[in-house]
Amino acid sequence: MHALEKILAKASGRKKVQAGDIVTVAVDVAGINDLYLQVLQSFTKIGLPKVWDPDKVVFFFDHYAPAPTIKSASNQKEMRDFANSQGIKHVFDINSGVCHQVLVEAGLSLPGKIVVITDSHSTTHGALGAFGTGVGATDQAAILATGQTWMMVPEIISMRIEGEIPKGVSAKDIVLKIVGELGPSVAAYKGVEYLGETVKQLPLAERMVLCNMAVELGAKTAYIQPNQQVLEYLDAYQKDYELFETDPGFKYQAEHVFDVENLKPQVALPHSIDNVVPVEESGKKRIHQAFIGTCTGGRLADIKAAAEILKGKRIADGTRLIIMPASTKVLMEAINKGYLQTLLEAGATFSAPGCGPCLGTHQGILAPGEACITTSSRNFPGRMGSTEAEVYVASPATVAASALKGYLCDPREWME
């Protein structure tokens, strides 16, 4: 069996499962973010007074952090009241950050666990060896009531990544390349495992980027076998978890191989995430806004990459650079390391940790005719504001270099 199958087998009380089986699994973490008052409305309709286990329910206030409108403020208020009345302790309010980052920092995303959040990027938790998947509000309400959910055991495809990662290239470029080559539905209903020598060496933050964007391949879940560094990271939390490993000889439904030895920085052009070209071929497209942040590209290493490129320089006139650390912890570290100062001096605007303009709700949405380059994961029409705006998705280094020049720009020139 695959490690993901072993996780599902354990969670469903079976010895063995295989692709296509429909199993009922016990959920370890049920996360709800502040877009989903609907979860509580559906839970109320089910008619049970109490959630199945308040210690396994987690609330995140991230998509509207802090609340930009009376309506979103009221939704958050109702959610806080619910969490209080249910004795739910894991409440990450607006001073925390984006759900996927916060869950990892809190030590709640662990190997072998079933992590189900009302957010499609829950695939991120595969970077810690968990079975992470996104659900909608009504599914989550049923989980709050019963602690369980049904799932079809997915087929699993592998992405083997080989070769040394060149300077100026990061996990974001690798995953953009993969999405560009294989398209947005190659992994529909499937699990994606990233493996190979290059992946084995990747730090946790980069693993999270690969797993995060697996959903842009259509994946139900993603997985990377935790390495020593990941396990050491988890040591700090002294939590119980079980680490599963894939049996030798496991047969993947499909196997893809990517050699990254000669990979160049990549960018997804409007208006779909698989519309990917090397940045150097994108033709100096003028940009109005550059955005560094989100559960995909707002971690410390991402802000560091930007600070290194922009140190002692000024962003281009007519270009805005918005930086939104993925969490308060990231923000504090960025302050300690001096990145915040460097970037502010370069002309950046910092904003509260959270999702911000990633999904076009507040804090930097786009006007018709504007173009934005972003470290986030989606560029569907209207994703960051006007449907007549253009969104370009790239790595933090590419976004920083583009902010510097005011047009889409390969970052390697500024990287030693």
Partner: protein, 165 residues
């Protein structure tokens, strides 16, 4: 008795994502009536005007990809869409639709088979759809039994309510 849905087809292309079905800027809305006012706004701002009394959406591959927002289903359901047939669906949208009682049918080849604006009749029990004017029949994938159980109860909430009683 066979489960039949009849309606007029509105057609869409591949990879229609949830930001197009229901733009993120309206996510704070919680009343289904308000949510219904923005159906398909990100892809076709005249959608609500084009809707007929009974509308069936036909789409290409990967319908509903992107975010997990249930608003994408609520908006279609409350705008009056009776069913969605697509070459394939993104998984969370598919689950959300079933959970809320919106029939979603997988039908490879459907984007070639039916014209925008044609009147069709779907027989969900038999897994076929017929185009009323030409009489031509197209096979759809049958709904799996665990899914049909949820749909027959009207969605996941009534289904769970029944199971915990």
């Amino acid at each position: 008795m066979d489960w039949i849905i009849k309606g007029t087809v509105l057609k869409f292309s591949d990879n229609i994502d949830t930001d197009q079905i229901y733009p993120g800027r309206y996510l704070e809305l919680t009343d289904p009536k308000d949510i219904a006012r923005h159906a398909m706004e990100g892809v076709d701002s005249s959608f609500l005007k084009r809707m007929k009394e009974s509308t069936i959406l036909i789409a290409g591959k990967n319908f509903g990809c992107g975010s997990s927002r249930e608003h994408a289903v609520i908006t279609l359901l409350h705008a009056g869409v009776k069913a969605v047939i697509a070459e394939s669906f993104a998984r969370i949208f598919f689950r959300n639709a079933i959970n809320l009682g919106l029939p979603v049918l997988i039908c490879p080849g459907i984007s070639q088979g039916v014209e925008d604006g044609s009147l069709v009749e779907m027989n969900l029990t038999r897994g076929v759809m017929s185009v009323v004017e030409s009489g031509s029949e197209i096979k759809m994938q049958k709904i799996p039994s665990n899914v049909a159980e949820i749909l027959n109860k009207g969605g996941l909430i009534p289904y769970i309510r029944a199971s915990i009683k």
